[in-house]
């Protein structure tokens, strides 16, 4: 915390929203455990690399869902309150990390 403008979203996430994101993260957690098993079983490296790429893609998808919600709630709210530029700078800074 502290680094960014807020600690919580302007509109709290609904129970349903939380569940959807958490379920996707649980699937990703399972995929990470799956790779541990592959290493344990001494599976072929390219098979492992394909799985790692799949997890990265899944994480990026979750990230974009989070970013979309943020843009439609927090950024939109800030724009209407006249503080849009700061929140936009903050979001773009974070998106730069994603593009790496």
């Amino acid at each position: 915390m502290g680094e960014f403008l807020h600690d919580h979203p302007i509109t709290p996430r609904t129970k349903d929203e939380k569940e959807k994101v958490i379920n996707r993260l649980k699937r990703i957690e399972g995929q990470v455990r799956g790779i541990q098993k592959m290493v344990e079983e001494d599976r072929y490296c390219p098979d492992i690399l394909v799985q790692i790429s799949a997890i990265n893609a899944a994480l990026k998808k979750v990230g974009f869902t989070v970013a979309e919600r943020h843009a439609k709630h927090c950024v939109s709210h800030a724009v209407k309150s006249g503080d849009g530029d700061e929140v936009i700078d903050e979001l773009l800074e974070v998106m730069k990390q994603f593009s790496k």
Copy 2:
């Protein structure tokens, strides 16, 4: 399996090699659980996005470790046996996924 040229590495991973990779994956698994908690606590989106980027970076690092081992053992072995090109094509194909 099946998609690639082999099911296992040409040189089996040592117990120590396996442990190192698995430990890093366990840490990543913990990070994924950490994000679930952040969503549960309704934390600010940019904070969550930063964590997702961190996991992606950690996964890429593991991927490069796996790729390095693959190149130094399997690719090198295949080159010496005269089958290098096929294994190189296979590795580059997988690396393309990573560069996304």
Copy 3:
């Protein structure tokens, strides 16, 4: 054109804004020509790959400058007019390409 919601930015780019972006693109154009020369001179592959990565990084930087301007002008304007969500969806769709 046609694919997106508009053909032009809501606030026209100033002469100065255009010049800055175009100058950066001209430098990138020069870097691309530089790689052609490196290939012509049969330079070592890793040297060429480093240059290609540098251009990709420079292009992403230009992209983020363009995205920032877009968010601060077009997206903000759309949010204030009540059409924010569509423009946000459009921008995130485009950012997904960048994250590849």
Copy 4:
């Protein structure tokens, strides 16, 4: 130069190989000029961002072609001469830039 193990490929690029890569780079150069024109004409930001993503993708493709050639010639040669690991480290280091 200097940073890497060699200044030139172990097997010189043929005239035909050079031409193919250079032609693709010329197309990319043209695309970069195309974006300059789009900025000049004050085109809509998402249209510009799509073009930048296309150039990045095209550059990565060229990069993978260069990397493939490198792996099949220089890396393979080094492996056969017993110096594989160094050249593999060098290539992976460069590929890490690509994955950003």
